[in-house]
Assembly symmetry: C2
Homo-oligomer: 208 residues x 2
């Protein structure tokens, strides 16, 4: 399983070939949707044989799951990991948001934020791919909610429903991801302003 | 142009046939994306000849535009028109939101809110279909912003950035549309709570 000879004579080294194909799968899925992802399409794009790609991934669904996994790791590297050195609470939330804006504005993938681009597309298609995307969404909202909770507990901000706030911040990020694709660069400041509404000090007045 | 005889011998009366096909096109697009919409697919689904559908719509793009138009009219009927009798400001905004929740929860179309389902899908595809979806989004956000402005002017709520608030409300609705498809019925209360944050009386304190 480590080496695959494709019908066009190329030698694909298993792990590296999988990575190359998964990366391209994410690019295709981020602009055209995960559902547009087929083994034949990827093979044609990359000049590989269909049977070679099939040997590495099996089914279309496994290919889609590999794309979700690749995108998850890239998101973790780009957004979550760099924030780990920031102190919990408002400071870390701001670092997460700034890294997310860079991630979405100058995207790793052609269509920007992979999860945002695909979750609406898969909401009517139950199955392992939908489950994987939902799990990623829950993880991300959980991280946002946890930092808000830290901020409340430390007295940085007034108490609030952290789950509802995380839902709102994530929703605004999804909308901003679409706006970025359309060239609306002011969406970055919209995201910052919405997040700052939640990060007002406890004696602050109503959000603007 | 009023009557089309299809190759399988059916008589399609132009306007009615266009409506039937456009309605099905919206159903398909709301679950599988506008890009999955092809003349061949629709013809097969409806048991019509491909040439018959082609005569009525011309190109795939014209078919997509007809679906956007059909969905826009249905949205106007279901959400915007019923609110026209409510007084401007907070009252009308609440009526719009309640009708939107019904529209999205028990959808006219298989995939729920058509615009929410498709706009992210088309953000990387410039052209007339993207323009039509964006125009609908601008119109909807404009309606939300206008009612917030009425509420501010009437002293019902404190002054706020109505465009930013409309962006937020629309973003939360898009996220709720996805959540409804996934069976998360509590999304309706999330939408209501987010909207009520903006509708607090001027002397209210920060949102919860």
């Amino acid at each position: 399983m480590n080496e695959q000879v494709t019908t066009d004579g190329r030698l694909l080294r298993g792990a590296r070939a999988r990575q190359t194909i998964a990366k391209h799968a994410v690019d295709v899925a981020s602009t055209e949707g995960l559902n547009g992802l087929t083994i034949g399409r990827l093979a044609a794009d990359l000049g590989l044989s269909k049977s070679g790609v099939q040997t590495l991934f099996g089914t279309k669904e496994q290919l889609q799951l590999a794309a979700v996994e690749y995108a998850r790791e890239a998101f973790t590297e780009a957004v979550i990991r760099p924030a780990r050195t920031a102190p919990h609470g408002a400071a870390r939330l701001r670092v997460l948001v700034e890294h997310w804006i860079v991630y979405a504005e100058t995207p790793l993938f052609a269509g920007g934020c992979f999860r945002s681009a695909n979750i609406a597309d898969f909401d009517s298609r139950p199955g392992p791919v939908q489950n994987a995307l939902l799990q990623d969404q829950r993880t991300w909202r959980g991280i946002l909610a946890r930092e808000l909770r830290h901020a409340v507990d430390a007295g940085e901000i007034a108490d609030l429903d952290t789950d509802l706030a995380a839902f709102q911040i994530d929703a605004v990020m999804c909308a901003a991801n679409t706006a970025f694709r359309l060239g609306e660069t002011e969406a970055a400041s919209n995201v910052r302003r919405v997040v700052e509404q939640f990060l007002r000090p406890p004696d602050g007045d109503r959000p603007q």
